[in-house]
């Protein structure tokens, strides 16, 4: 058990959680928006293009999670085949740096999915208001981007 809590493990755990939680958030969000989109299209197939745009919006959190996980893997040298020796402190720091995007990604993905679903319904009722519907959903994106920024800057700052 004691050698499980090594720097390498903690770093990878952080990267994995970033991809995992942000991915779950996006999957849920895109799912909710997709159901709503299908509902509108079932009544009016011509709105497919418009609602597809809205459905895609909550997908970004997953990409951010992936990005952070990637940076972690590059940093610890997992991709180049020779993993760096990490102290527990270094590993724990990388783990900590991954948390913002993991949690904010999870919650904001779901929230953005709901906002996007509402936007889809707005388009279902008033097709000319697509831009406004997108704007409302995009507001949620701000916080995912902020979390990404924090995770990214922290990872950048950790010296190996």
């Amino acid at each position: 058990m004691s050698n499980l809590i090594s720097g390498e493990f903690l770093a990878l755990l952080g990267g994995a959680l970033a991809a995992l939680f942000a991915g779950i958030g996006s999957a849920k969000g895109v799912g909710i928006a997709g159901e709503a989109a299908a509902g509108v299209v079932s009544e009016d197939p011509n709105k497919f293009g418009q609602v597809l745009l809205l459905q895609a919006l909550p997908g970004t959190q997953g990409i951010y999670g992936l990005l952070i996980a990637f940076i972690v893997m590059v940093k610890v040298g997992l991709l180049s085949g020779s993993m760096a020796e990490l102290s527990v402190v270094q590993g724990a720091s990388i783990f900590a740096a991954c948390m913002p995007i993991a949690f904010v990604g999870l919650i904001s993905g779901i929230s953005q999915g709901k906002a996007a679903a509402a936007g889809v319904m707005l388009v279902g009722k008033k097709p000319s208001e697509l831009a406004k519907g997108m704007l409302f959903a995009a507001m949620v994106e701000t916080y995912a981007v902020l979390a990404l920024l924090v995770s990214f800057l922290m990872l950048n700052g950790i010296q190996i």
Binding site: I32, A36, G39, V40, E43, A117, A118, G124, K125
Partner: protein, 324 residues
Amino acid sequence: MAKNKIYPFAVASVRAMENKLLTKQKLMQMAEAKNAEEALRLLADTDYGKTQVRDVHDFEEMIQNNLEESYESIQKLIPNETFMNIFLFKNDYHNIKVLIKEEISDVSGRKFMVKGGTLPIEDIRRHFRERNYSELPYIGRSVEEAIDVYAKTKNGRYVDTILDKACFRNMTAAAKKLGNEFVIKYIRRLADVTNLKTLLRIRETRRSEQELLESIVPGGDLDTEMLLRAFKSDSATAVLKDTAHGVLCESYMDQGFTVFEKACDDYLMDFVKDAKYKTLTPEPVVAYILAKETEAKCVRIIMTCKLHDIDEETIKERVREAYV
């Protein structure tokens, strides 16, 4: 239906379907039409036009088909029997009332039966004729009771009161089973409004307290005692003004039954209008069903008035608040 279950598909579909609801302007246009034929032409331009009728007197068929279609599409959106039954029970009970009265009076009630119950019209008719109550789920027992009581009393009023009560009992039970707060509140409000209308009707026609007691339906917030007190008091409004529905009673109860009945419909519509701002929970679906039923009522009022040459202003006064 779990408490937190969300229905993005159903709500989004309903949102798109709302666009096809008749607007207030459209209804007003119909009210302003020169005659019934012109009003019917206006109606045929809308979603109702799917059913083609030759004679203006057959407008009811358009309404029925449109309403049935709406019930069916909602049923497909939320494939939960309990949910749909809450709104369909009343049609079953209406049909069974028609059947019982048909048997008593020997006049064919076929054209008074409505589509969109939990059971198809022909099935209800057949099982009722054969006294096969077990084939009439939910409603069978109350039908048996109504017929028994009629046989003893020979008074048709009991048929209505027994079935109305059973209807509300079933609706309340189904709403409870469903567990959705909005639906439960809506049914309570519906029961209250129904009782208030009964109260006013019995008062206006100067009938007895006994009759009121027998007619009160269960499931509302206003209890029998309160209603009875309002009935006995000189001013029902004074008794009822501090209840949950005080505003409704205070503003409209003294203005006669027709005005109050319209106010009640608007009051219910007002309650469900909040659903406009919900996006994932089933409230908008409930609101849509009520909107569709109210719309049918409005069209019926307008067409009937037009056929009887009632003037524009009166029709406009009677047309209910629209959802969109």
